[in-house]
Every structure is written in C-alpha cells, then in structure tokens.
Amino acid sequence: MLHSLFYRISGLLVPERSGGDSRETDMHQKINWTDSYKIGIDEIDLQHEYFVLMINRLMDELHDSGNRAYRQRLLEELSLYAAFHFTSEENLMIKFGFPGFDDHRDRHRRLLSRLNERMNYYILSRETEGAVVDFLVEWFVKHTLDRDSLFGAFINHGGGMKK
C-alpha cells in the first residue's frame, strides 16, 4: 500500500522535474534522492540511491574535468555499475519468479545498448555531455521509477513470497 502511494507520488514528480530542466543549460538539475524513489526492495533501493549519486557526480565531473580520458572512464564506471545492478535485479526477479522478467531483461539490455551508443558518440565527439546526462536522467526516471516499481509492487503485493 505504501509503495503504491510512492509510486503515485513519484509519477507526479516527474513532469515537474523535467519541466524545470533546460537542455540548453550546461548545468543540469541534480536528482534529489527521496524516499519517493524507493520501490520497496531495500537492496534495489540502495543500488538505485547509489546510481543517483553516480549520475549526480557525473553531472559535475563531466562539466568540470578537463581530462577527457577521465570523463570517458566515468561513463565506463557508470556502465559497469549499471551492468552489475541489472544483473542483481534480474537475479532477484528469477528468484521470486517475476512474470515480467523477459521483458524487463530485454529492456535492461536495450538501455545498455543505448548507453554504448551514447558513449561511443560521445567518444567520437558527436554528442555533448549534456545529451549523455539527459539520457541518463531520462533512463533513471523512466526505467527506475516506471519499470522497477512494477517489480517492487510485485514483491510487496505478495506476487511471490513474503520478503
């Protein structure tokens, strides 16, 4: 019950945050981690919170650091963390027999494929940091708050076992 409430709140939040965002601005609005982002699975929430932390840091660092190689490695770090996080999440889904697993799994890979493209384009200097950050924020908001909450709801509504 509590989670569905969060879900709703978070749904409300999105337009507001994206409305405040300007693509022309170099400096992005950072994501402010709140309980509303939680999907109700402690392990996943923790990872999400850290993911947010990474995105926020990336915003600063992509903007500030003059070291190109370092900036590339930050994106790699994020990509590796995402791969780790997805694997964790998928393993929980397998464990609890989440019915939306295949779809969710496919989505995870698409995200990574797209991140691969963003990274390569960025490396090839075909995209700006801003575009990359936009992609990440959108990813977090859409995927995390949208898709992962489904898994959270499944768990907490007793879809499988009690937690």
């Binding site: 791969a83 496919d106 989505r107 995870h108 890979r109 990574l112 494929s113 691969n116 493209e117 390569n120």
Partner: protein, 1056 residues
C-alpha cells in the same frame, strides 16, 4: 589488407545501425543491411558478403537464432558470423558459439575492437578460401600421379603387391596385385584383393616375409628380404623380395622369382664347400701363390697365421723366386713376431705346381706353427744351460744369471725373484735381472722405488694366493713407469710362486712383455721358477756347508783355549790348535802322534784315567780343575772339558784346556783386598766416634788451660801457687796432646801441610832413638837422599816414625835385636799387585821400619791399628800409637802396611805420596811474648766461661774488650756503634746466628774490619771458605792465648 573492399552484411535486431555504419564505413568496408523481418538468406545469397554482423539491441537470443539458421543455409554456412550484444550471460556466449558464431562482441565496445574482430573473421575466411584453392590444385595433381603409378604398377615385369596394415599392423590385407604377380603366383587380382595375406599365401609366415612386412610398416625403413624358398600347398619357388612403405601408409613388396638361378648356384656351392671344408680342416696354413706373387688361395689357418699374425710380413720373395726358377721344393723355419708382439716360429714349405707344359705356374706354400713345440725345446735347452750355470756361479750371482736367462726365455724385458723369509709374512730381498736393473736405473728416483714396490706388491699377491698371478691389462702405472719399452701404459706381468712344503719360498716374476702371457707361459714359468729355486737352494746349501766347515776350523784355530784331539783308546794326539802349542810349549809337529801320557801333560795320572773313562760313562767332562805341566816343567792350574766323538768312524776325544792360573791368583788377591777394605772401614767407624768425644773434650780443656793461665797472670808473686798452676798447665798440655793425637787418628785435625824432606825427620828421630834405646837394640839405616818431598806436617811425620819405633822397641825390649829403618822412593805402577792395594798408582816414598822381635800374633794382626787396642800393660802405652800412625798416613793420602812373622819380627811399610810441588823450607814460627794494644775488640762466644776468660786475658793485654754471648747481640752492639770497634773475634758454632753469618753481616756494615773466626771441631767451614768470606784469622780450638794475641796484633798492625 586485401585489394578489393570487403563486404559486411549487418543484420540489426532492434535499435539503430548508425553507430556501426559510422565505424565500419570509416574503415572502407562495403556494407549492406537487413532486418529480422527480411528474407535474410536470400539477401545474403544475393550479395554474398564476406562477413555477417548481427547487432542485437536487446537480449542475445534472437541474434543467436539468426546465426544458427544462417549456418545451416545452403551456400551461406561458410560465411563467418559475428554477434554483438549487451550484457550477455555466460549461457548466451555458449549458445552463440555453439550456433556457429565465429566471434562475440560484448557491448559496450570500443570501435577498434569491432574493427579488429571483423578483420580477424575476414582473415580466417580468406585463408580458408586460399586453402580450398590449394587443395583443389593438389587433388588434381594426385589424380595425375595416381594414373602414372597405376600404369607403372600394371606394367612392371616383376611382382608387386600392396598391403594395408590391419589390426594395428599385426596383419596385412592385400589391396593391390600387379599382373606380373598374378602370373608368378598363378592367381588373379580379383581373387586376392581384400583378403588377408595369410589366406592367400599360407606359407608367408614360414617364409619370413610377414615379419618383414610388420617391421617395415612399423619403422618405415625399407628391407631386403633375402632370397628364400616359399612353399604352400598351391605354389613353391625361390623368391627375392624388397619391402618398403608408401607415403599412404601402405606397404609394398616387389619381388622376383629366382628359382632357376638358385638351383644352379646351389650345385656349384655344394662342391666348393666340400673342398673348402677339406682345406680349412687342415690345421697348417695353406696358400697358393701365383707367379706374379699374388695369392690365388689361402685357407683359414693361413689367414690366421698371416693376415693378422705377423707384425712384419714374411719376405718370401727370394724363396718363391727360387722355387719358381728351379722347380724344387724348399723347407725353412722362420721366427716372426705376430701382431700381438708374440714370437712365433713357423716351419714353412714351398712346393712348385707345374702346368701341362712343366712350367711352374703356382707355388703351394704350407706353414706350420711350431712355436709351442719350439718353446718346450728351447726350455729344455735352457734347463741344461741353467744346470751348467749352477756349477759355474756362486749362489748370489747364480740367481741373477738365471733371471737373465729367464728374461730371454720368456721374451720379457724384466725378470725378478723375491725371497720370503722363513716365518715372516713379508717380502724379503729381491734379485733382479740385468734388464730390470737397467730399467730401474733408467727411471731412477721415486719412480724406480715405485717399481721396486710395485714388483714386491705382485710378489706378495702371488705368495698370498700361492697361485700364479697373470696380468695382461691396462693399469694405472706409477709415475715414471711408463717410460720403459712400449710406453703405452699397457703392462703385463706374470708372477709364479715357488712352493716347498706348502710354504712359499719365493716368487719368480717376469713383466712388461709386448704381448699377453698365456697359460703355456705360466707352465713354463713354473718350471723355470722351480728349477731356479732348486738350483739356487742346492748351491746355497753347498756353500753353507763349505763355509760352516771353514768357520769351525777358524774357531778352533783362534780359540784361546788349548784344544787337543786324541785317538781312543791309544791316547795318541791327532791334532792340536795353536793355543795348545803356546800353553804347553810343545810344537804341533812334536806333539802329533805322541801319546799324551808320554808328553806328560798332566801332573797326576788321575786326569788321564778320567779322560779314558769318558766313552764308557758317556757323559762329557766339564770344567774339571787340574794341574797341568808345561814342556818347561812348570805346573799350572787348568780347567779341562772333554767329550768323546766319532771322527770318520774312529772314536776320539776332544779335550779343551783352559789356563786358569791367573784367575786363581787373582782370586787370592781379591780375598786379601777384601780383608783390607773391611779393616779400613772398621777404623773409620771408630775414628768418627773418637772425633766426637775429642771435640767436647777440647772445649773443657780450653777452659781449664785458659783459667790456669789467667790465674797465673793474677798470682805472679805467689811462687807456690804458680808452681801448682804450672802443674795444671802441664797436665792440660798432655791432655791437649792426647786429644790432638786422637784427632790425628781420626784424620780430623787439619794441619798445615808443607812440602817436606822426610830424610831430615827420620835422621832426627834416629838420633833421638840412639840416645834412648838400650844397647841390646842395634839400629840400621838405609836412607836414600834421592827422593822427592811429601806434603806433610813435620810433627806428624815425626810422630809416625817414633810411634812405630816405640812399638819395635817394645817388641825387642826383652831379647834385643835389630831395628832397621830404610827410606826410598818407589813407583807404584797401575795393577802392581805386590804393593798396598788401596793406593792410587804413582810415585811414593817407602819408609820401612822393621824389627827382629816376636812378631804380632795372628789373632791381633787385624786390630793393631784400632785405637786403645794394646797388648801392653796398663801405663806402658796409650793404645793410640799405631792408630795415630794409621790416621796420619792415610790422612796424607798414604798407606801403612804390616808384615809380620811370629818369632822373626815385624816390618811396617809406610807409603807417602811424593809431591811435585816446589822445594820450600818450612817457615819459622817462633817469637817472644806477643805485644798488646789499646784497641777496642768485640768478642763473641756462646759459652760464657770462655767468653769471660778471653775478655779477661785480652783486657790484661791492654785491649778494651766488649763481649757478647750470641751473634744477634753482637750484631746489635756493632750496629749501634760500628766505628767504635777495631776488630771482631767470633766463635763459629753458635745458636741463632753462626760466626760466618755474623761476619758477613758485620762486613756489610764495615767491609774493612778484621774478623777472626774461632771454630771447634767443625766441618761446617774450612780455612779456605772462611778466607773467601773475608775472614782474616782462623783458629781451631784449643788454641794458645799467645797465638791469638799474635794474630790480633798482626791484623791490627796491618790495618794501620
């Protein structure tokens, strides 16, 4: 890379193709695209790309499916497929590669990664294409060569069969069979192909070819299977096979049928083998030599003898020439060294072989090895020679000559013989052949020694084993030993033992031969060794016999004892030795043949009797003492030993006579000497005792005389008292005299000795005697003036004369007689036994005093020199007379002896050693009353009475006297005022500190102060020692006050 652009077909599963297009087109790849919805296979077949890249946006599954279907598709399967997908799990990768993917690129990827992986895929594809082309070309070639091979195979005139190994090469299957083989084996190809070899040819295993096939198949090495006879139920014949392996792994054999040739050949061989067998059976060497010198034939024995035997081949050409020319057979004996260096002797015959026309075309040469036969023959000769040598040489040289001969016989550069001493488990001395000695000399030094030890080692080894020791091998040679003949390091040795009564007497060795020692050599050596030893020991025994005879006769000749050989029972003298001649004074010539009784050798006839009983009693006479008689008639004592013995079957007596007369007389002298020694020891013991008594008595006497003198000084006016004191002093004087006589006897009174002419004293004594002896006693004198002087005190000598004369007087007192005094100088040479034995040899004065009295009875003779021993009535004599004489004379280094005969008289002989010192007249020592003085004297004596007496006496003389009764007190006084004293008089023997020590201490303070030492009877210090300590005056108690006063004055005056 490659010239034409390569084409990549991208299948995009979801997502966009933008990124890959951008990356790959930049690298110049041609690209075409498709979606999963398209007819992919058709599209690919159409564009025939070099590589397909499946790009999956989501899960890898769909991409893997596409890959799988492509791999199965006709004409597309060979195109490499590369898959790229994000986050594949391990199963995805597994599936992808199983489906036939050639590579999997995980997103995110780096552009370079994609490019390189695609290029790699393309490269593999290209290489495979190339390989296909090469393969196609090769297949074509193979086809051609196959045709060629087939052509050859079928057209071959010899048989050719190809086998394929089955069951791992343990059996073979026929795979091809050429027409020639079909013809030879009378079987068609169709009948044999695909069948096992043994099925077709059952005799193949016996024939041996099966194992050849196996071997060749296994090793790949071609083999000639030797010509053999094949046989089975169907066919038979001689076959010669060559087997080899084909590159295909098959084995082929090509072969011929040689049956016909083989049969013909065997016929020839049979007859030849027979002949060869006959000829080879002959043990002599047989050669057929052509006129050009070449060898037409030689048998095995000839090969043995000539091909490897002679180091230098025979030079047969002169003989061959002779035989060819004259047509007459020749026989010769030749010695040669074979390749092994062995000496071999051949008996050779050359026989001509004429042809039909009578021309000599060949020579048959027969050679027979007669080495062994010859060796025994020469050995026999050598034995004869050695026997001859035995007569010629003494044993010492004999062995060496033998060894030289053996060296020659054994064809060895060295030969040596080692002796083994009886009962000693060690190598004794060695004898070397001349060659060996030369060798040892040449190598010299340590190496030479090493060789000697080396040879001894072998001898030892041989002796231990009691077996011949043979060594034909290479050994480590001691340093320097390789320098001999054939210095190759190869040494050979042969050592044989000479065993007698199971004991090794010696070893005979040879060595360093150029070739091996054989069993025959061992036998020969043993024969030689035995012969050498026997000859040697026989010779030595012979020599020993000779030399022992000589030794014996020398012993007899040089014996100091007289040896006399007498016949039995006639007593006829058969021989005597030189000592006999010397001892008895009969010459050998005069003695021989005489009866010993006629010669009168024995004083009594008992001896002769005793000797002639000998053979009956059977016990030899030993050291029988008897009296013998010389030719001069002199009888002397002898010791006789005799024995009976058989001499050349006649019984005779050997009598050994030893002259023991000297020994006898020496024994008598010895007894006399012992008696004399005993007496002198007894006298010495008595003297020691008397000396002790006299010493104590002296001190008492000093006090009596001293106080009497003192009293006289005090009573000058009292006539009567003076007279009495005079009596005391007179008695004191007598007592003092007595004491000094005792001390004289004890030789403990030291007197000043001076060179003295004894004549004066003797004459003086005679003068005195004349006036005092009664007229019944006549005095005779024989005083020689030609004598040297003696070191003596005149008073003592006087006393000696007087004491003896007094005794003579007493002896003649009742009956009168003659008193004879004689004096002469005598020489006592060493060993003169007629003179007193205790004296050292030298020059002496001999004073003889004899009387014609009653003589001394025998029972008292030994005791006459003892003190207080007297035969007279009490009061007639002191009993000290002769004791004093004895004491004085021995004290002077002389001797007194007595000869007495009861009823005839007594004779005393006094011997005094003559001094070689200068003639110096005795100093006069007379003076008036000594002068006194006023000096300060320190007087020390532990006896208070004496001290007091002297203090008084000296005070009367005017001296200031300080007295002390021990050394410490005296020293303390002196230390207090050293300069106050002018002279010190100290007693020697004092408790706490002796006089000499006190003197030393005082002299440490004042070295120049005169000191007088007074001693009692005391041997602690002599005048010389005292003088050495710086003591100026020396007095012995008792002494006269007068003398002391004189000395004090003298020293003090000197001081001034």
């Amino acid at each position: 890379m490659t010239g034409a652009a390569q084409s990549v077909f991208i299948i995009s599963v979801g997502g966009e193709t933008g990124l890959l297009t951008e990356i790959l087109s930049a690298e110049g790849f041609r690209l075409s695209y498709a979606d999963p919805g398209d007819d992919i296979e058709a599209l690919i077949q159409h564009s025939s790309p070099d590589l397909v890249l499946v790009d999956v946006e989501g899960s890898a599954g769909q991409g893997i499916d596409i890959c799988r279907s492509l791999k199965k598709a006709e004409g597309v399967g060979l195109i490499p497929v590369v898959l790229t997908a994000p986050l594949p799990d391990l199963q995805d990768k597994e599936d992808a590669f199983r489906a036939g993917c050639s590579d999997f690129i995980t997103k995110p990827f780096a552009p370079a990664e994609v490019i390189v992986r695609i290029r790699n895929g393309l490269m593999i594809r290209n290489n495979m294409k190339l390989l296909e082309e090469v393969l196609d070309a090769q297949t074509e070639q193979l086809k051609q060569s196959e045709t060629r091979f087939r052509d050859i195979f079928t057209r071959l005139s010899i048989g050719a069969v190809i086998f394929q190994a089955v069951e791992g090469g343990s059996d073979f299957m026929l795979v091809d069979f050429n027409p020639a083989a079909e013809q030879m084996e009378k079987i068609s190809k169709e009948e044999v192909i695909g069948r096992r070899v043994a099925e077709v040819f059952p005799g193949i295993a016996d024939f041996g070819l099966l194992s050849s096939l196996k071997r060749v198949w296994r090793t790949g090495i071609p083999e000639n299977h030797p010509t053999g006879f094949y046989r089975d139920e169907r066919i038979q014949g001689w076959r010669a096979n060559h087997v080899f392996k084909l590159f295909t792994g098959e084995v082929i054999t090509v072969y011929r049928d040689v049956t016909e040739e083989k049969v013909a050949e065997r016929e020839v061989a049979k007859s030849r083998d027979f002949l060869q067998g006959v000829i080879d059976g002959v043990r002599d060497g047989l050669r057929v030599i052509n006129s050009d010198g070449s060898v037409a034939y030689e048998n095995r024995a000839a090969l043995d003898a000539f091909s490897h035997a002679p180091a230098v081949p025979f030079d047969d050409s002169p003989m061959l020439e002779d035989v060819f020319n004259k047509g007459q057979a020749l026989i010769a004996e030749q010695a040669v060294r074979d390749a092994g260096g062995r000496k071999r002797i051949f008996e050779r015959s050359f026989s001509p072989v004429p042809d039909e026309s009578g021309t000599i075309v060949q020579v048959i040469e027969l050679s027979r090895d007669v080495t062994a036969r010859k060796q025994w023959q020469t050995l026999k000769e050598a034995q004869m020679r050695l026997t001859g040598l035995t007569l010629e040489y003494p044993s010492k040289q004999l062995l060496q000559v033998f060894l030289d001969e053996i060296e020659d016989q054994m064809d060895s550069p060295m030969a040596f013989f080692h002796f083994f001493r009886k009962g000693q488990p060690m190598v004794g001395h060695a004898v070397w052949s001349a060659g060996t000695v030369k060798h040892i000399r040449r190598i010299q030094g340590d190496a030479g020694n090493a060789f000697v030890e080396f040879a001894a080692g072998w001898a030892w080894e041989c002796a231990c084993q009691k077996q011949p020791v043979v060594y034909n091998g290479t050994g480590v040679l001691p340093e320097g030993m390789g320098s001999g003949e054939g210095a190759t390091g190869l040494i050979r040795l042969l050592v044989v033992p000479v065993v007698r009564n199971d004991r090794v007497e010696g070893t005979l060795g040879v060595g360093y031969r150029g070739h091996d020692y054989t069993e025959t050599d061992v036998k020969i050596m043993q024969a030689l060794g035995d012969m050498a030893w026997d000859s040697y020991s026989r010779k030595q025994a012979e020599e020993a016999r000779h030399s022992s005879e000589e030794r014996l006769s020398r012993m007899v000749l040089s014996s100091p004892d007289a040896i006399c050989l007498m016949g039995f029972p006639d007593g006829c003298i058969l021989d005597v030795n030189p000592s006999f001649e010397a001892m008895f004074g009969h010459t050998r010539g005069a003695a021989l043949g005489m009866d010993c009784r006629e010669l009168g050798l024995w004083e009594s006839t008992g001896m002769v009797q005793r000797l002639f009983e000998l053979p009956e009693k059977g016990r030899p006479v030993r050291d029988l003492e008897a009296n013998a008689r010389r030719a001069s008639g002199e009888v002397f004592e002898v010791s006789v030993s005799a024995d009976a013995m058989a001499l050349e079957e006649d019984l005779c007596l050997v009598v050994t006579i030893r002259d023991i007369s000297e020994r006898k007389s020496a024994e008598k002298e010895k007894k006399a000497l012992e008696a004399q020694l005993q007496q002198s020891r007894r006298l010495e013991a008595v003297g020691t005792m008397a000396g002790g008594i006299a010493h104590d008595f002296n001190n008492i006497l000093s006090a009596i005389v001293g106080y009497a003198q003192l009293a006289m000084t005090g009573v000058r006016g009292d006539r009567e008292t003076c007279d009495r004191l005079e009596q005391i002093l007179a008695a004191g004087d007598r007592a003092k005299d007595l004491v000094s006589q005792i001390l004289l006897f004890c030789r403990q009174e030291t007197r000043e000795l001076k060179p003295l002419r004894v004549q004066i004293i003797v004459k003086e004594a005679i003068k005195f005697l004349r006036s005092s002896l009664p007229s019944t006693i006549r005095i005779r004198q024989h005083i020689s003036e030609e004598t040297g002087m003696v070191m003596a005190d005149p008073t003592q000598v006087h006393q000696v004369v007087m004491n003896i004369c007094t005794n003579a007087y007493h002896a003649m007192k009742s009956g009168g007689g003659v008193l004879d005094l004689s004096l002469k100088q005598v020489e006592l040479p060493p060993g003169d036994v007629s003179k007193p034995v205790l004296l050292k040899p030298g020059t002496y004065l001999e004073l003889t005093i004899s009387d014609t009295g009653a003589g001394i009875p025998e029972r008292v003779r030994d005791r006459i020199f003892e003190p207080y021993y007297t035969t007279r009535e009490k009061g007639e004599g002191s009993g000290l007379g002769l004791a004093v004489v004895h004491g004085i004379v021995t004290g002077l280094g002389g001797e007194v002896v007595v000869e007495t005969e009861t009823g005839r008289g007594t004779c005393f002989r006094v011997y005094l050693p003559v001094t070689h010192g200068s003639d110096r007249s005795p100093a006069e020592r007379r003076g008036g009353e000594p002068a006194g003085g006023s000096e300060h004297l320190l007087f020390v004596d532990d006896e208070e009475t004496l001290t007091e007496m002297h203090r008084k006496l000296l005070s009367y003389a005017g001296y200031r006297v300080t007295a002390a009764t021990d050394g410490r007190e005296a020293l303390a006084l002196f230390k207090k005022r050293p300069e106050a004293f002018d002279l010190v008089i100290t007693d020697m023997t004092m408790p706490e500190m002796t006089g000499d020590v006190l003197a030393e201490r005082i002299r440490e303070i004042r070295p120049e102060i005169p000191i007088i030492l007074v001693t009692g009877y005391n041997e602690q210090i002599t005048p010389a020692q005292a003088e050495a300590k710086g003591i100026r005056g020396y007095f012995e108690k008792p002494f006269l006050q007068r003398e002391l006063a004189l000395k004090i004055r003298e020293l003090l005056d000197k001081e001034r």
